[in-house]
Symmetry: none
Subunit: 206 residues, 4 copies
DNA sequence: TATGAATGAGTGTTCATTCAT
DNA sequence: TATGAATGAACACTCATTCAT
């Protein structure tokens, strides 16, 4: 029933093409024709190719930070997570599947040595999301020192988020390369995480 | 004393620029001027832009697979690793630092949805490195089923290699973003790995 | 009290922008946003970009030819000019200051080698303004042959109008370049005209 | 015998087209095809469209300032000019005919309100051409105060150079508009200058 | 009278690649 | 082994103009 606007079509096609070829490898002409709109319309809505990318990032971070905020507010970080918190975190990680394309683009762009601080970091950093008071409140509540918080960020990002991201982004090609069916692959990966990252969490929980 | 040939200069500069801007974002002109050689010379040595990339990958995989082979042959995978095996694996992971630029490029290229099987997978896959006989010999020796080997590959790649890769490639920007000194960051990361991936290995070793 | 219509705002902004960047250098988008109206409205009032220019020229020539006509009719060209004629000519040249922007545009367009007869010539040409009878009457009255009239046109245009035009259009930048205050510059220019063009007129007047 | 290089062909065609349509109105595509070279070659030699224009200006000012310098050094400005000085000034003004196209472009660009100090002023300004010592020497020799020199510049530029420039640039269209043959037109213009600017010079010479 | 959305045809510019020497 | 000149095809982006409302 809802009419899909040209603007939305452009964003959707850009997302797909940036994910497929990388930002530099994707062509505006292609995005336009794929979206079935005139090339100039892209420049009417977004000011430049980069502008499209930034809008894509902006939209994603809006959504993802809302989800992360919900998790934190549901008490996801203090001691044993409540049921709501569990649901929040599930939604959060569910996003990794649903928003695979943008995550792919974000990771690719983050890997370039040139640019500014990668948008990717926002996946674990709630300092840009919560207010200072909230952070202070949270760190008091959980009784974590600054050191401990830094350690937590690093552990979550590098041994939790990154493996999951890699799995989501490379799974398909892994299965083709090693001739493993996708369901088996999922089992392997889940076990791998259980034995490493999740094992650590359980230990801490006790 | 060793004369650095134009060919080597081109490869070195290409490596740096591909890492900085990504393959598509890097320009042949720039590589040439950075290397102090004529643009056409690049086409004399390598047949195309992609040719340069492939040479870079080829060289890296040559070296890395040699290191991995050494590890396997030193018995790195059977039971408790010997001292030689330990040294081999250290050298192997040392490469992650030294060859950061190429790994960066490989990861970026691997993330594109379009292309063929990512060169990146070769980091854990010795099926391209060892002969069939050798693999069979090894799998018999270690008593691993095909399932177990697949599980091992997945675990090593996603919870061992990927975090390390991410750490090596994003560390600098992480430190800037979160205002953490590099040495502290190293401590956090080592602990994170100890608590997750390495903890798992120790458990298995017993 | 007088309401400035959108139409007038468009014309005024077009005038300023054409003067600033030249006709080709100015952009319809810019004119619209500067005038605070929708781009399409420009096409509603004037049929095209050129249409705006032509309206601007039309308006100017209307006014300027009226002034020139008044001068001629007040007897400005026969022998010693009356007081009314003097006032007419003062008003005429006063226009050079007030309508600087359009004159600038007209001169720029006139300089292109491609186009038709420059609107600029109308500044001295009353053949487009007076009827044939009037011209004949005037030329009889003043006793000038066709040759003499041509000579007069040339003299007036190239040594009277053009220097004044140049002064009006380049004065500001001349003062900046040569670091001369504007009032001094005016003195220099007035003297220059007195010593050359006006000296000639006085001699003829006697 | 001399081979006309692609570079020269580009410059020549750019000159013609800029003069015909104005800088903004001229198209790089057209320049390339007119010059019989590939469009990209223009960017190989000059970095941009503007770069072509600037090269054109640079070359002209080089030549014109050399001529003006010769005139001044031959004593063209002190008292009654020598024969060499006369020849120098003839060459200088001869340039107005030969280099009409560039002068046309320079004037058009100078008329835009936006840009920096018009290159056009260099036609009378030798402060960019002679060294400070030379200027001081000259001003002492000729016994002119700074005021007098400023007056001279203004007089020369606005009542000498500008009319000549206008004549050279508008003559053709004037003749068409007023239906005057070119040779008659020349006579009219020469007389106009004799009666105004040159009359002033003769008076001063005495 | 006014506008937001849309477009065709270009516009300057870039790029990987080739060629003659 | 090395280079300056040259190119075709594309590239991101722009612009005057139109259309539906």
């Amino acid at each position: 029933m809802k009419k899909i606007t040209s603007r939305q079509k452009i964003l959707r096609c850009a997302e797909v093409l940036f994910a497929e070829k990388g930002y530099d490898g994707a062509r505006i002409d292609r995005i336009a024709s794929e979206a079935g709109v005139n090339k100039a319309l892209i420049y009417y809505y977004f000011k430049s190719k980069r502008g499209v990318l930034e809008e894509l990032f902006r939209n994603f971070l809006h959504e993802s930070s809302a989800k992360m905020m919900a998790y934190v507010r549901d008490g996801g970080l203090d001691g044993s997570p409540s049921e709501e918190a569990q649901q929040s975190i599930d939604e959060y990680f569910g996003m990794f599947e649903k928003k695979r394309d943008i995550l792919r683009i974000m990771l690719m762009e983050s890997l370039k040595e040139g640019g500014g601080s990668p948008a990717l970091f926002n996946l674990v950093d709630f300092s840009g999301v919560l207010s200072e008071q909230e952070i202070e409140y949270f760190s008091k509540e959980s009784g974590m020192s600054s050191e401990e918080m830094n350690q937590m960020f690093v552990t979550e990002f590098f041994t939790g988020v990154m493996p999951l991201l890699a799995y989501v982004l490379l799974r398909k090609r892994w299965c083709e390369h090693f001739k493993v069916p996708e369901d088996k692959m999922k089992k392997y990966f889940d076990r791998a995480m259980d034995m490493t990252h999740h094992a650590h969490h359980k230990k801490m929980g006790k």
